[in-house]
């Protein structure tokens, strides 16, 4: 599935909304020299086509002093990749799930409180899923950057 790319005006509108999406259509229209109707229609279209999502993001760590955990998952048989990845995508605690080539079959990323919490999460929620052969986890010690503007919009 290929999503339509944003054109220049779309990108300029998104650039304004990406730091403060409460900016009024009127303000954006006057900044970009287009009509308010154009801004409104384009935002509506981009949202409907799932090119953008306008949402509140919070800086409240899900856990105080939480660490990011990378969980690499290998499946029993290669045909199971899609099925296992779909199951993983339903786990709300996972912020990223991707089918990968190279290093392992699937990468899942979550935030945990500690090493113990990571072990518990992997054992209770991932290792037991049908098709999961083995997992390998890496615990982050310092979160340098995560650009919330880049996402995969699915819902």
């Amino acid at each position: 599935m290929t999503r339509r790319s944003l054109d220049e005006i779309d990108r300029q509108i998104v650039a304004q909304l990406s730091t403060d999406a409460r900016t009024s259509n009127r303000q954006i229209a006057s900044d970009l020299g287009v009509t308010e109707g154009t801004v409104r229609a384009r935002i509506k279209r981009m949202e409907e086509e799932k090119q953008i999502r306008i949402t509140a993001v919070t800086n409240i760590d899900r856990f105080r002093n939480g660490s990011l955990a990378y969980i690499w998952i290998e499946v029993e048989r290669s045909y199971q990749v899609r099925e296992v990845a779909s199951e993983l995508a339903r786990i709300t605690e996972l912020g990223f799930v991707g089918e990968m080539l190279g290093r392992s079959d699937i990468l899942a990323i979550t935030m945990v409180r500690s090493n113990e919490h990571l072990a518990e999460f992997v054992h209770q929620r991932i290792s037991g899923l049908p098709g999961v052969r083995r997992t390998e986890s890496t615990l982050g010690v310092n979160f340098v950057k995560h650009d919330y503007r880049m996402a995969r919009i699915v819902s």
């Binding site: 990406s18 730091t19 409460r22 953008i52 800086n59 912020g95 991707g98 080539l101 950057k145 996402a151």
Partner: protein, 168 residues
Amino acid sequence: MSLASISSRQQPAAQIELDETDHRIIALLRGDGRLPYRSIARELNLTEATVRARVRRLEESRTMRVVAVTDIEAAGYGMLLAIGVQVEDRSPEEVGRDMAAIPEVFSVNIVVGTQDLEILMVAEDQAALQGLLHEKLATMAGVRRLTPALAVNVLKNQPDWVPFHDPA
């Protein structure tokens, strides 16, 4: 050191106490970031002025931001990679900071184990990817080895644990 410099913008979110009303405003804005103040006020049985003031307080304390999140594919990025980085002669923190300055590198984490850093990066196409990998990352001071994995299908990339940093 003066008090003013202690409470500079570089500080992580000021700890403000959130009450039930704040949480309900955040929940409504998570669902639709463009919801008019008037509608939020009506929904929560508050005045529009109260809602405006609450939202401003949440934003100014860096607790919440309402933003447009762009789909990576719609933004023109066809490829996403998870790259493990081994470092030598320089600290992972320094190398991580340099990598974080590259716009296509959207996540940088210092880890312990075989790799020193784990980064997530997008690229427009194969040519752009090669440029980023070989000319920007591989030649960066302190980078010993890059171990990339290519995502063929990203099912989910919508973390609710993002740290705020001021976009360039």
